[in-house]
Amino acid sequence: MSAALSVWVKGVGLWAPGATDWDAFCEIVAGRQAAGSDGRPVADVLPPNERRRAPESVLLAAAVAGQAVRMSGLDAASLPCVFASAHGDQTITDYMCATLADTPTELSPTKFHNSVHNAPAGYWTIATHCHASSSAVSGGETTFGAGLLEAATLAVADDSDVLLASYDLAGAGPLGEMTATTGPFAIAVVLSPRADATAIRLDITPSPGNSGTRPTGNAWLDGVAASNPSAQAIPLAHALAVARSTALRVAAARELDIHVDVEGVA
């Protein structure tokens, strides 16, 4: 078994139906606030004209990434980034497949270039003038765990702070029945390989087998967690929100979990 990857969480961003940002999520988890109504993700990193035209995937990913980077105090321009999503922009894929079936030569060029899995990474790096490496990944149903493992690996291997954003949308059309995603959710974390006494530490170790998820007992949280593959981040998000030391397992692949020791700030 390999040694754990240790990373410190310098920033967090989140959007869930009922929680428009990380602060709202923390208030809900603490029981000080009920889950609110759905607010549009605020992707204020994007220039206003891009924000108006951006597809939902880009808005959602850029909104949570912007929150996390702001909290970290780091400069997005030099931050390598990993954008994870099980299914990418399903709304656009549904449009593409429907249009290709009926009137293929009328396919919209804008929809086509927004359909690539790395559209959020592309828009993000353009908006933040980031020339560092950027990636767009999927791990299917275990996308969040696979993305977290990849981002922590990149941070430790290159001794660099890394931004991870994981997002998925509600399914649309006949495709939506296949992906079985029932709602949108996105989370972002900025991970640092350098010790920081004011930040929560994650010790991440790959661990054979899939142990399954345990419900948190909070109906709203458990509902969100079941809505799409990126929302499998909910137990970790809960641990970060209450800032208590705990251990949890996140599925990262078929027959592979990552064991995550969460070390709260003393």
């Binding site: 390999s2 990857l5 099980a86 299914h87 990418g88 894929t93 593409m96 497949c97 429907a98 290709l100 079936a101 293929p104 396919l107 060029p109 086509f112 270039h113 359909s115 690539v116 899995h117 790395n118 559209a119 990474a121 592309g122 828009y123 790096t125 353009i126 933040t128 003038h129 980031c130 020339h131 560092a132 490496s133 950027s134 990636s135 767009a136 990944v137 999927s138 791990g139 299917g140 275990t142 696979a146 493992l149 990849e150 690996t153 990149l154 430790v156 291997a157 290159d158 006949p174 495709l175 029945e177 296949m178 992906t179 079985a180 790959p206 054979p208 692949a253 078929r254 027959e255 592979l256």
Partner: protein
């Protein structure tokens, strides 16, 4: 800045494209400067263009035990995996290291979306038809999920989908995981197949040529789309390692535009520089560069200038997309395999398709095939969204 990295051994590799199945089919076609592009006969309403199509996939279903994964993209992956002893090499690695110590890290741009498109063409009362009621196909992770299932591997499994740099970037994912001891071996590579999304999509952007593509030709008129699959098995170098080496890689972003490269090739240049730093070499050490060279106006303009200003005339360079078409998310791996063949055989492939060199090109361009020892080589892959990757390979014992 990245640090120099310990090289990795490429224990096995293979590729399948319009040039044929496996390495020898590629070596022969490249040696004869014989391309594989043909008039487009794909899809129900074929566009007037040329494609790089792999023959015979329609008649090559997956074995019954893998039937739930059956679709054109996974068939192409399976055909490729079946060449050059690659399957045996993966099974041997699984045996030596254990299923959870071997990762599957694959690049694709559209994965098996062709199956989703097909479902939409014959919806059953507005729903996916029964025979395509297979959720594992309707996701970008279909390819990597299939390969992990086919070999019963239980290590990290990741799809990289950064358009045309996808299957180059996975070499970097593997290097990081192996260096940190998370895994002992990785199956890397990628697969992309012809589908309506990319044919009509690139057509809508007016990037598809009506003739076979002509990379770096002054009168080039756009890309030809192709399909391909390729794989490599990466492990640590040991005393007995005989295969070629991955010695470096670089990854960087243009931060410029979703579908147009940076005018000065900034992201491409950073990726190149980082690959050289990781490899511990200088531009003058490079014997051959397999260029991205798509035959789009902008890409070739930017890449020609980058090569002309960065390398001595002794470095040879060519794009092989005139042979295979632009195989999108599979291009990184296909062209890595072609680069490794150039190294193995001491033959620089021609820059097939160009007759009137773009004056921006420098003396590095190998317009026709050349005999030339290749000890150290690079392969460029640049994608939509300004996503750039550069890989560096060497023969055993290099860099000296």
């Amino acid at each position: 800045m990245p640090h120099p990295m310990p090289p990795l051994s490429i224990r096995a590799y293979t590729a399948t494209s319009a040039l044929g199945r496996g390495l020898e089919a590629h070596a022969e076609a490249l040696h004869a400067s014989r391309g594989g592009l043909t008039p487009n006969d794909f899809s129900s309403a074929p566009l007037d263009c040329w494609i790089g199509r792999v023959a015979g996939l329609e008649d090559a279903p997956l074995p019954p035990e893998l039937a739930q994964w059956d679709c054109r993209n996974n068939r192409l992956a399976w055909v490729a995996l079946s060449q050059d002893g690659f399957m045996e090499a993966v099974r041997d690695a699984r045996e030596r290291y254990g299923a959870s110590r071997v990762a599957v890290l694959l690049g694709t741009s559209t994965s098996s979306i062709g199956a989703t498109e097909e479902g939409y063409r014959r919806l059953d009362h507005g729903r996916m038809p029964e025979d395509l009621h297979r959720p594992v196909l309707h996701t970008p992770h279909s390819l990597a999920g299939f390969v992990a299932a086919a070999f019963d591997l239980e290590g990290p499994c990741l799809t990289v989908a950064t358009a045309c740099s996808s299957s180059a970037k996975v070499f970097g994912n593997a290097e990081r995981m192996i260096r940190l001891g998370l895994i002992d071996a990785a199956v890397v590579g990628g697969t992309d197949t012809l589908c309506d999304s990319v044919l009509f999509g690139f057509n809508s952007l007016e990037l598809v040529s009506g003739e076979p593509c002509r990379p770096f030709d002054a009168n080039r008129s756009g890309i030809s789309i192709g399909e391909a699959a390729g794989f490599a098995l990466l492990e640590r170098v040991t005393d007995g390692s005989t295969g070629p080496l991955l010695i470096g890689y670089g990854e960087a972003s243009d931060a410029h535009h979703m579908s147009t490269p940076h005018p000065e090739g900034l992201g491409a240049e950073i990726a190149l520089r980082d690959a050289l730093v990781r490899a511990g070499i200088e531009a003058g050490d490079v014997d051959y560069i397999n260029l991205h060279g798509t035959a789009s106006q902008k890409n070739d303009e930017v890449e020609a200038a980058l090569v002309a200003r960065s390398f001595p005339a002794t470095t040879r360079a060519s794009s092989t997309k005139g042979f295979t078409g632009h195989t999108l998310g599979a291009a990184g791996m296909l062209e890595a395999a072609i680069t490794l063949l150039a190294m193995r055989d001491g033959r620089i492939p021609a820059n097939l398709g160009a007759t009137t060199p773009d004056p921006l090109c420098g003396p590095q361009m190998a317009w026709t095939a050349e005999q030339h020892e290749v000890r150290i080589a690079l392969s460029n892959s640049f994608g939509f969204g300004g996503n750039n990757a550069c890989l560096a390979f060497a023969q055993v014992g290099e860099p000296a």
